[in-house]
């Protein structure tokens, strides 16, 4: 069936030279075709040279290659030590391609589009007059950020390394942590225009082959032209429409990434972003940090419980406050009730309106402070803290309990950063429900939220596992409590072994080495 609307695919892009044109034996013609294909772009560099009496050209893209490697691995051998005794240009070029050791990555190319693609990926392409193919040589050397401490998921005692923007560096960081022959990495290119490198990582003896294939199919069929971040892919990898909670875990830490692979998950690293994706992700994992595994178990359990309480408070506290003040004040302690009512008496708005206004003001301040230069950010903090916090209360616009509650819930939501977005939206919904129907409204929204959460399955694994469906072994192993490493080392649980997993958990079925090696 013909698609409606405009087709934005790369195949429809009109270029001066046809993309699938074969390389000509005439060097000048080939160079003209490549120039035309790349619209004579300013960063395209074609350098001509003569080796053993045969005209050659080295095509590169400025800024994408390492210039010292270009000089040492290509120019120097070609000029100072060319192959001798070749009958014609083809034999000379075959000899260079086959016998001369130039670089680790070498590939023969036959079309103009392949040449263009190679030079844009940081390869140098060697062309020879009288030969109808080209040789791509991997000498990538573009500028990139070094390995630094991640900006999110900061830990006290775990590794200080975070992923960077270069996919190959990220792959090496994972490999360094999992020196296992079963760690398999597969590279594919996604995005018809951006041709972004995407790496899929998994342990062949622990991951489910069906999930791997499913993810691979989804990535190959992503209709986006440009992939600039891993979040672009996230929506396509989600199994169901996830407005609030994602079934895909995002991390900037290679140690977290490696540990998730060991649990039978599949990791996706996208070139150009330090945030890697892990599939499938469970709800409980939002409360875990790498530090939980370096602290003592009792302290980790305490911290995890604290995060859960913070999350619950962040979601329902303002809504609950509105509901209790408006509909069920008898539930509050008498002294507290008197204090609340005395402060409400002096304010201009009802509790519901106050909470809503304060919530919106807080979110505006957060959004404004987030992307501003640091110097201006301080000004926003002062405005927020003094003007909105202090003056609104003393001017009788807001009551002190509402300011306190919104500030406390703002802090609580930061305790679980992975769920911040969901928290923010749900808080608003709970304020509205509490304001309209009191505890009744809060319960109805809560029940619907639970139905929503419990209905989600991420690639066959229930999102609320191991609580719903309940798996006692997993619950007491590593959820809100974490057992000691000596106990953890005795059992070995993958996501496929969680109760409620849709497919078989037969280990033989999951071992994919044989099938893939045959292919």
């Amino acid at each position: 069936m013909k698609k409606r609307g405009a087709d934005f695919s790369e195949k429809q892009v009109k270029t001066v030279a046809p993309q699938d044109k074969k390389l000509s034996t005439l060097l000048d013609e080939t160079c003209t075709d490549i120039r035309a294909l790349m619209n004579n772009s300013a960063d395209l560099i074609i350098k001509f040279a003569e080796t053993a009496g045969v005209k050659m050209a080295v095509v590169t893209c400025e800024g994408m290659i390492d210039k010292s490697n270009l000089a040492n691995l290509i120019y120097r051998p070609l000029i100072s030590n060319p192959p001798q005794g070749c009958k014609d240009a083809r034999e000379l070029f075959d000899s260079i391609a086959g016998k001369m050791f130039i670089a680790e990555e070498q590939k023969q190319l036959y079309t103009c589009s392949d040449v263009a693609s190679a030079i844009m990926s940081g390869f140098a392409v060697l062309l020879c007059d009288g030969v109808d193919y080209a040789l791509s040589i991997g000498i990538q050397g573009y500028e990139h950020r070094g390995v630094e401490e991640p900006s999110t998921h900061i830990n006290l005692r775990a590794s200080r390394e975070g992923f960077v923007e270069v996919v190959r560096t990220n792959m090496s960081m994972v490999r360094r942590r999992l020196k296992s022959p079963t760690l398999k990495t597969e590279m594919i290119q996604v995005g018809e225009r951006s041709n972004t490198d995407v790496c899929i990582c998994y342990l062949t003896d622990r991951a489910d082959i069906r999930i791997v294939n499913d993810i691979m199919d989804k990535l190959k069929n992503i209709p986006l032209n440009t992939i600039l971040s891993s979040e672009f892919l996230q929506a396509f990898l989600e199994q169901s429409n996830s407005a609030l909670f994602s079934q895909i875990f995002v991390t900037e830490r290679p140690d977290v990434f490696a540990s998730k692979l060991y649990e039978g998950r599949i990791g996706v690293i996208v070139d150009g972003t330090p945030f890697a994706l892990i599939v499938p992700g469970l709800f409980i994992e939002n409360f875990h940090t790498m530090d939980d595994y370096t602290h003592r178990p009792y302290f980790s359990a305490f911290l995890r419980m604290l995060r859960l309480v913070a999350f619950i408070l962040a979601v329902i506290l303002p809504g609950l406050y509105v509901a209790l003040c408006n509909f069920n004040p008898e539930m509050l302690r008498s002294s507290l009730l008197l204090n609340i009512y005395s402060s409400i008496q002096t304010t201009a708005y009802p509790v519901f309106g106050e909470s809503l206004i304060m919530y919106i003001l807080y979110e505006i301040m957060r959004e404004a402070g987030l992307r501003l230069p640091k110097s201006v950010g301080h000004a926003v903090s002062i405005v927020g803290g003094l003007v909105i916090g202090e003056i609104t209360v003393s001017a009788g616009l807001m009551s002190a309990p509402v300011v306190l509650i919104i500030a406390a819930t703002g802090l609580c939501s930061l305790a679980v950063p992975d769920l911040y977005e969901s928290c923010m939206i749900m808080r608003l919904v709970f304020i509205l429900a509490g304001g309209a129907f009191g505890l009744y409204g809060i319960t109805i929204v809560g029940v619907m939220l639970m139905f929503r959460l419990c209905s989600k399955n991420a690639y066959g694994v229930p999102y609320m596992a191991p609580f719903a469906p309940f798996t006692l072994k997993s619950v007491i192993r590593d959820t809100f409590v974490r057992v000691d490493w000596r106990v953890l080392s005795k059992s070995d649980v993958t996501v496929q072994q969680l109760s409620g997993k849709a497919k078989s958990t037969n280990a033989k079925e999951r071992t994919i080495t044989d099938e893939q090696d045959k292919q």
Binding site: I444, F467, G500
Partner: protein, 367 residues
């Protein structure tokens, strides 16, 4: 078809049973004294006997429920039984919505129009039914946990108010009340209807659901009854919702009284029950019309919700209709007809799944 485990279904049944128990008005059915302890015990024995046809049905027709076995015998026969069964489910649904709305109006929000209350309850339950049986049963695990936390909180905070002086050795004092209470306890067993439909969804050994559920609910109900007697004593008959009153006396420091939290938990459990009943009706409908045409899930659920809303409005606004429905439900006629007689009939007349059909279904499920 979503697959669930027998334990998951048993926990769901506990949540739904407790929701019904907690919104039960004392007086006729809940009284101070030892009668109710024995009543619960004997009622569970009777219920176990009533479950027998269902147990034999699941043993004879593996991976089937009464409807699929009946449909295999004759399509018209199956559809008729399915329709009759759905009527019982509709009656239970309407009764639950009405009772829940009354409970909410008495406890949480008395200013709301009844029709608005029906609408919100049905909408939430409809959402759960649309999400499927596994989503509902998973949610029930949380509801049961909330119930457990609430009971523990009540016991801890009311420990000083537990008066053992209210306990006295006795068997049955009022035979008339005992039989009324027994009938009511047996009649309040809509889980049997749900089990009759969902036994086909249970992954393995569906009978174990009953083996887990009946003893567990018996113990919990006895504990709750003991708490009623120890705290309220002779005043038990004079309060409307006993556990709600007890919770209102509980002080957990953060909140001066727990009654609001109590109401939240029962509402939670009640919505799960209505969602499950709706999902069962939907399953009966899809199983009945599967061969003829594709079923639009959302359209069906929407129409069904409108139908339930209209019935609730009609019955809920006329006291005599509501009392009539209550009387019928208390006799337990719907449980005996749909929960016992229909399975018994299918047990005698139903047809087993052919070997080829069974293998094809297994392959389809694996894929």
């Amino acid at each position: 078809m979503s697959r669930i485990s027998n334990r998951q279904l048993a926990i769901t049944f506990i949540a739904t049973r407790l929701s019904a128990e907690m919104i039960m008005v004392s007086g006729d059915t809940i009284r101070y004294g030892a009668d109710r302890f024995w009543c619960i015990f004997f009622a569970k024995l009777v219920v176990l006997a009533l479950y027998l046809p269902l147990i034999f049905l699941t043993l004879r027709f593996k991976e089937d429920n009464f409807l699929t076995a009946a449909l295999r015998r004759s399509r018209i026969y199956g559809v008729m039984l399915g329709f009759l069964f759905s009527l019982s489910l509709v009656a239970v649904t309407v009764n639950t919505v009405l009772n829940l709305q009354l409970y909410i109006a008495d406890t949480l929000l008395n200013s709301m129009l009844p029709v608005f209350g029906f609408l919100i309850i049905i909408a939430a339950a409809l959402y759960g039914a649309a999400k499927g049986v596994s989503a509902i049963t998973r949610t029930a695990i949380f509801a049961s946990s909330f119930f457990a936390v609430l009971i523990i909180l009540i016991v801890i905070t009311m420990f000083d108010n537990l008066n053992t002086i209210y306990l006295y050795p006795s068997f049955i004092e009022d035979g008339n009340y005992f039989f009324r209470c027994l009938l009511s306890e047996v009649g309040a067993n809509s889980e049997m209807l749900i089990f009759a439909v969902l036994c086909a969804n249970v992954r393995e050994k569906p009978n174990k659901t009953i083996l887990y559920y009946l003893p567990a609910v018996f113990i919990i109900l006895e504990i709750v009854n003991l708490i009623y007697n120890l705290i309220l004593g002779p005043y038990l008959s004079s309060v409307e919702y006993p556990l709600y009153v007890i919770s209102s006396m509980s002080d957990i420091v953060v909140f001066q009284r727990l009654d609001g939290i109590d109401a939240i938990v029962w509402l939670f459990c009640g919505i799960i029950k209505i969602a499950l009943l709706t999902a069962c009706v939907y399953q009966i409908y899809t199983t009945s019309v599967k061969q003829t045409r594709e079923v639009n899930k959302y359209l069906f659920l929407f129409i069904y919700a409108l139908f339930i809303l209209a019935l609730c409005w009609f019955i809920g606004t006329k006291r005599e209709y509501y009392d009539l429905l209550e009387q019928i439900m208390q006799t337990g006629a719907h449980i005996v007809i749909a929960g016992m007689l229909i399975p018994l009939l299918v047990l005698i007349t139903g047809k087993k799944k052919a070997k080829k059909e069974s293998e094809a279904a297994k392959i389809e499920e694996e894929n």
